[in-house]
């Protein structure tokens, strides 16, 4: 199963439509389930809901063989932590999908580093979905502990000096 998610905050018609049209044109041997948020486009070729509560979202995420999503950091972090193959399409400011192009920057950087695949436009999606089937993401070691320790030191010094 492929889990398609675009967050619940803002619509992302471009991605949902691209995937729907690919399935309509080429057919697909895999089942797709989608959380499309406030996207107005309704896919005809797979099941889509606007939002899922956290536990259901996590269930679909963990059951999926691969994930397709916007390049939102919440989803990217979940995919990296679970080692799921991920294909992202960055939201772009020129289409009013987001206020700046930070999603484009992180998609490029993380694709370069082998953590995910990225489609930069609807025309890329077919090819990248093919690659997604056999894509094995690079393992990423979080350095959260090092950062947390740095903040702890700062807080403890502050607390001690009070």
């Amino acid at each position: 199963m492929i889990f398609l998610t675009v967050g619940t905050q803002f619509p992302f018609d471009r991605l949902v439509k691209a995937v729907d049209e690919i399935v309509s044109k080429n057919g697909l041997d895999e089942h797709i389930f989608a959380q499309v948020g406030t996207t107005t486009y309704r896919p005809r070729n797979f099941e889509a809901v606007s939002s899922l509560e956290k536990t259901l979202f996590d269930k679909h995420f963990s059951e999926a063989d691969s994930i397709i999503s916007h390049a939102g950091m919440g989803t990217i972090m979940m995919a990296l932590e679970s080692g799921k193959p991920l294909l992202v399409m960055p939201r772009l400011s020129k289409y009013g999908e987001v206020v700046n192009d930070h999603q484009l920057a992180i998609a490029r950087k993380f694709e370069q580093l082998g953590y995910l695949l990225a489609a930069y436009g609807a025309e890329d999606v077919t090819e990248k979905m093919k690659q997604l089937k056999s894509f094995v993401p690079q393992d990423r070691q979080s350095e959260a502990k090092i950062v947390a320790d740095r903040i702890s030191i700062f807080l403890n010094e502050l607390s001690d000096s009070k």
């Binding site: 619940t8 930070h102 992180i106 959260a144 950062v147 740095r150 903040i151 607390s159």
Partner: protein, 158 residues
């Protein structure tokens, strides 16, 4: 971490917009272990994720494209800061976090800012504003610590 007998006595405001900002903030949870905390976020959806770190205030989403919402969110942030009087504001962004940092600083709070990993080549707009008043400003790409002054890189949260 220091293991002094002295009780930990800081009141910390944890501020992060829904989505990736909250996810990155939560990765740092052990840093404020033992301190009194409360949270500010932007949508109800993430309230549960934060509720173990004290009272959660939801101020609503805003960005530059919606000036009226910016004012509404700002007023809510002002009310929260005056009511809670934090000693420290820790934020991963975005706009609401930036407002809380600026407001907190005016009332004497220390500011810890962690710029989101999505800012690869330059700091976020919020980060660029907070940089001037931050007491600890962390970035998640080493290149950014070279490019900007008063910015520190120790690793990536993600």
């Amino acid at each position: 971490m220091s293991n002094t007998d002295k009780p930990k006595s800081l009141r910390i405001c944890l501020a992060a917009s829904a989505g990736g900002h909250v996810s990155q903030l939560l990765k740092l949870a052990e840093s404020w272990n033992g301190y009194e905390t409360f949270c500010v976020t932007t949508t109800e959806v993430v309230r549960d994720k934060l509720s173990k770190f004290g009272v959660v205030y939801v101020v609503g989403e805003c960005n530059r494209q919606h000036p009226i919402r910016v004012i509404t969110v700002l007023l809510r942030c002002i009310r929260i800061i005056f009511k809670e009087r934090p000693d420290v504001v820790i934020s991963t962004g975005a706009a609401a976090g930036c407002m809380l940092c600026l407001l907190g600083k005016m009332l004497g709070a220390k500011i810890v800012w962690i710029d989101s990993i999505t800012n690869v080549e330059r700091l976020s707009l919020s980060g660029r504003m907070v940089r001037y008043i931050a007491d600890l400003f962390l970035v998640q790409w080493p290149e950014l610590a070279i490019r900007y002054k008063k910015v520190e890189y120790v690793g990536a949260v993600v």
